[in-house]
């Protein structure tokens, strides 16, 4: 029995490794400057990272943040401002570090204030407010943020799409590894305990506030990294772009669609939603958002707890159908 | 089939994988006081909630006046004439005493008697009349319990189910409460009483069922049980 379980775990790792190798090799076979697929993967990687960051605080710890766009935007602005000031350069690791840390610090400060005082929906609303305040501050920041027009960066620095692709891949893998390690450790158990019953967790000696802030800050750090990368990608940092609510809403949707509080959920959700969005925007560009809205409504109506939950609950049925299909297919061939 | 007022036949209730009540059968005849006694977690409240259809039964049947209640919803049960006063009172604390009473007569067929029922409630519990426009959250524990019972009586139940009415009340208030319950019974209301306060429950009840971890351990007339050495050891002994 034990061996079977171990085998299963090993297949998971091997499957994961194969997928990663595939992603690493992709640019070698495709013209990354032209390929739509590379661009698609790049954005999906970013969404997965933000979704996993949100998953950590909301899915595992149960504190639904609606302020992730604040961290994304802050990361982008830090990168843009330090580059404009000549403190950092194009694709500067220091800029990434500063952006991530800036977001982390904001999360820690906001966390101390909000997480200690607010629970449940009130925390969600509070974080939403933080994001909106940052947006208005950027709009009114004078020459520092250059207002609504935003900061334009030196786009002649652009070298190759591969830079972006691999950085996004790296950030995503970094996030996934951090999350796996965290969730498997005592910290992960503590976070889930907080989600299930905060009072019981604190009665058992778990420093609830500290762990909540930790989860919130780590999520903010990786989101800040994504913001930084996005600033380098679009060479233009302005409020409607980087502080748009889309940066919180879409990852949250992906997470819930896939199954919040699971590791594979956000990954699965990100791919499904990205594909759905891309396909509709290719084939029916005019009604693409209508379809997206209807899609979300349908998923919540028929799979309210997410795809992962659906899969785990219907595993035997799905596997049986899969086997049947394969069987039929092989028969036809023979 | 005999026409008992309420009859449960081998009822099972589970929360997920955990069975809370297993193969439980019992009946109540009209005009009686029946009590379910047992320790915490024995499944007493679960049985009441199963009768009220708040939680589903996994097997077994429940009959009221000889009619199966399968497929009915909680609100239908109230219309049939079964009212539950839940553990911990559960008043609408933001509503006034009067509004709480009025909501007790929510089922349409009881609304024409509303004024009359309210008068009755006030004669039964005069203190409530003094508090009529106070929000019910400001009442004392005893007053809250009275209001909860009065609210359930508004629907003119044939069967009144009381879940731990003495919980958290001072001894003096408790004995008053039990007197009132007896009085209600004399007025013709059949009562199903769930209590941890075994002694007092047995004093007013006609028949008792002893529950342990979801199954019926023993049952009998109260005066018989109180003499039974097994009962004394398992139930009263543990509690002493």
């Amino acid at each position: 029995m034990l061996r079977l379980n171990q085998m299963k775990v090993h297949t998971k790792y091997i499957a994961g490794l194969i997928v990663v190798i595939f992603f690493v090799l992709c640019p070698l076979f495709l013209n990354s400057e032209r390929s739509y697929f590379i661009y698609f993967l790049y954005t999906t990687f970013i969404y997965i990272t933000i979704a996993q960051g949100w998953n950590l605080i909301a899915g595992y710890t149960g504190q639904v943040s609606l302020g992730q766009h604040a961290f994304f935007g802050l990361g982008a602005y830090i990168t843009a401002i330090t580059w404009r000031a000549g403190l950092t350069g194009y694709f500067d690791p220091l800029a990434f570090l500063l952006s991530g840390t800036g977001a982390l610090l904001l999360a820690a400060i906001v966390g101390v204030v909000l997480l200690s005082k607010l629970r449940d929906d009130y925390f969600s609303l509070g974080t939403l407010g933080i994001g909106e305040i940052l947006r208005v501050a950027a709009l009114n920041g004078g020459s520092f943020t250059e207002g609504a027009a935003g900061i334009s960066l030196n786009s002649t620095a652009y070298k190759s799409m591969n830079h972006y692709y691999y950085t996004a891949l790296f950030i995503m893998l970094f996030t996934l590894v951090v999350i796996v390690l965290l969730i498997r450790s005592r910290v992960g158990l503590a976070l889930i305990a907080i989600r299930e019953d905060e009072t019981a967790a604190s009665a058992n000696g778990i420093p609830v506030l500290r762990y909540k802030i930790l989860a919130f800050s780590i999520g903010a750090f990786v989101t800040g990294l994504c913001g930084s990368l996005n600033a380098y990608y679009i060479f233009h940092v302005h409020p409607p772009g980087v502080l748009s609510l889309n940066w919180v809403v879409i990852p949250v949707l992906m997470c819930i669609l896939g199954g919040a509080g699971t590791f594979m959920g956000p990954i699965l959700g990100a791919f499904v939603l990205s594909i759905a969005f891309e396909l509709t925007s290719i084939w029916m560009p005019e009604i693409h958002p209508i379809f997206s809205g209807a899609f979300i409504v349908l998923v919540t109506l028929f799979m309210p707890s997410g795809i992962m939950y659906y899969i785990t609950n219907h595993k035997s049925m799905i596997m049986r159908r899969l086997r049947l299909t394969v069987f039929k297919w092989m028969n036809q061939k023979a | 089939m005999e026409n008992h007022l309420l009859e449960l036949r081998s009822v099972d209730v589970s929360y997920g994988d955990a069975q809370a009540v297993g193969n439980f059968s019992f009946y109540i005849d009209k005009g009686k006081i029946i009590t379910l006694v047992g320790a915490n977690g024995a499944g007493k409240s679960t049985i009441l909630n199963a009768i009220s259809k708040i939680i589903p039964t996994s097997s077994g049947e429940i009959f009221f006046s000889g009619m199966s209640t399968a497929g009915l919803k909680p609100e239908d049960i109230v219309k049939l004439g079964i009212c539950q006063v839940p553990e911990g009172r559960h008043l609408f604390t933001k509503l006034t005493v009067l509004e709480n009473l009025e909501l007790g007569a929510y089922p349409v067929h009881t609304r024409p008697f509303m004024k009359d029922s309210i008068e009755k409630a006030f004669t039964l519990f005069p203190i409530l009349k003094e508090r009529i426009n106070q929000s019910s959250g400001t009442l004392s524990g005893g007053e809250q319990q009275m209001l909860a019972i009065a609210r359930a009586l508004m629907a003119r139940p044939k069967l009144l189910m009381l879940d731990e009415p003495s919980l958290g009340l001072a001894p003096k208030v408790v004995s008053l409460l039990f007197k009132t319950i007896k009085k209600l019974n004399n007025d013709g209301v059949t009562i199903l009483l769930v209590e941890q306060n075994v002694h007092q429950a047995m004093e007013i009840a006609d028949y008792a069922y002893v529950l342990q971890t979801g199954t019926c351990k023993m049952d009998g007339h109260c005066h018989d049980l109180l003499k039974n050495s097994d009962f004394k050891n398992t139930i009263l002994g543990i509690r002493e």
């Binding site: 909301a58 204030v113 909000l114 005082k117 607010l118 929906d121 009130y122 969600s124 609303l125 509070g126 939403l128 407010g129 933080i130 909106e132 305040i133 208005v136 501050a137 009114n140 609510l245 949250v252 949707l253 819930i256 919040a260 009604i287 693409h288 958002p289 209508i290 997206s292 809205g293 209807a294 899609f295 979300i296 409504v297 998923v299 919540t300 109506l301 309210p304 707890s305 | 009220s52 708040i54 919803k73 909680p74 609100e75 109230v78 839940p86 559960h90 008043l91 609408f92 604390t93 933001k94 509503l95 509004e99 009025e102 909501l103 007790g104 929510y106 089922p107 609210r151 359930a152 629907a155």
Partner: protein
């Protein structure tokens, strides 16, 4: 621009803020009712408002029905719409927990927003009436007729909802179920029926707010979300689950916005509103009105 407004200007600001705030307040009442009864954060509320605004736009454009009369059409239609939305969608999803209902509301918002974009284009629309531009003077203060009418209508709608909750059995059941769903069931109340009615009323209030909005402000499909946010802030100010509180919260928000856009700058008005919002959440989660919020 002076930092210290004269008395007349000050009153003008307060009055403008009150007009604006009434709009937020009416939308917030619906949101607050729905949240109180079924813990659904219905962020599509603002989008429903804008849908009502576009409906009025069409009624005026194609049938030349006066916007104020169109309320009589909008309210029943939105009541039915709300009832269908609850029965068809939210009742199913409500068992799956708050994040699912939030997601569903968001999906509806995106869907309706894009439908409106598709049908009415992103161009800013406005509804013109014979009394759109008329105004009268009291001393140095100018009062626009349409704003006054709208405020009165909003006030009437609020009073009706208040009386409904206070005086009718269904209204009392709504308040009871909002507090304790299971106990409601034990008293013979069908919580799904009560929730459906609450949802219908909430959506109808969005309809009223939408009609009111289109009489005063130009609108486009994206305005909806902004209004949802403002309604949320209004609820936080007034305290959850209170009709009077939601309206008052809306008015406080409206006054705060017009005061800060006059004394500081219009650009910062939103940020100040959000900052006040967070401060209120932290220091007075029961709302600015405190105990008053405990009543209806």
């Amino acid at each position: 621009m002076s930092y210290f407004p004269s008395l007349a200007v000050f009153f003008q600001i307060i009055i403008n803020g009150t007009f604006l705030g009434t709009m937020y307040g009416v939308a917030a009442i619906g949101l607050s009712l729905i949240f109180g009864c079924m813990q659904v954060l219905f962020i599509a509320q603002g989008t429903m408002m804008i849908l009502a605004a576009y409906s009025v736009f069409w009624l005026v454009y194609f049938m030349s029905i006066d916007p104020l009369i169109s309320i009589l059409i909008i309210i029943p239609v939105f009541l039915v719409l709300g009832w269908i939305m609850y029965k068809g969608m939210f009742q199913r999803v409500s068992q799956a927990g708050p994040s699912s209902t939030l997601l569903l509301a968001f999906g509806l918002m995106v869907f309706m927003e894009s439908m409106m974009l598709f049908i009415w284009s992103p161009n800013i629309r406005s509804v013109k009436t014979s009394y759109s531009t008329s105004a009268f003077q009291i001393g140095d203060i100018t009062i626009s007729v349409s704003r006054l009418i709208v405020t009165v209508v909003a006030g009437i709608a609020t009073c009706l909802v208040y009386l409904f909750l206070k005086k009718t059995m269904t209204g009392k059941a709504i308040r009871g179920v909002s507090e304790d769903r299971v106990t409601g069931m034990l008293l013979g109340i069908n919580p799904n029926r009560v929730s459906a009615i609450t949802f219908a009323i909430g959506i109808a209030m969005a309809g009223v707010a939408g009609v009111a909005t289109c009489l005063i402000y130009p609108f486009d499909p994206y305005f909806g979300f902004l209004f949802s946010l403002k309604a949320l802030i209004a609820i936080a100010f007034g305290g959850l689950g209170s009709v009077g509180g939601a309206l008052l919260g809306g008015i406080i928000l409206g006054i705060l916005e017009s005061l800060s856009s006059y004394t500081i700058s219009p650009g910062w008005a939103d940020a100040i509103a959000y900052a006040a919002f967070i401060l209120v959440l932290i220091f007075r989660p029961q709302g600015l009105l405190g105990k008053a919020a405990d009543k209806v």
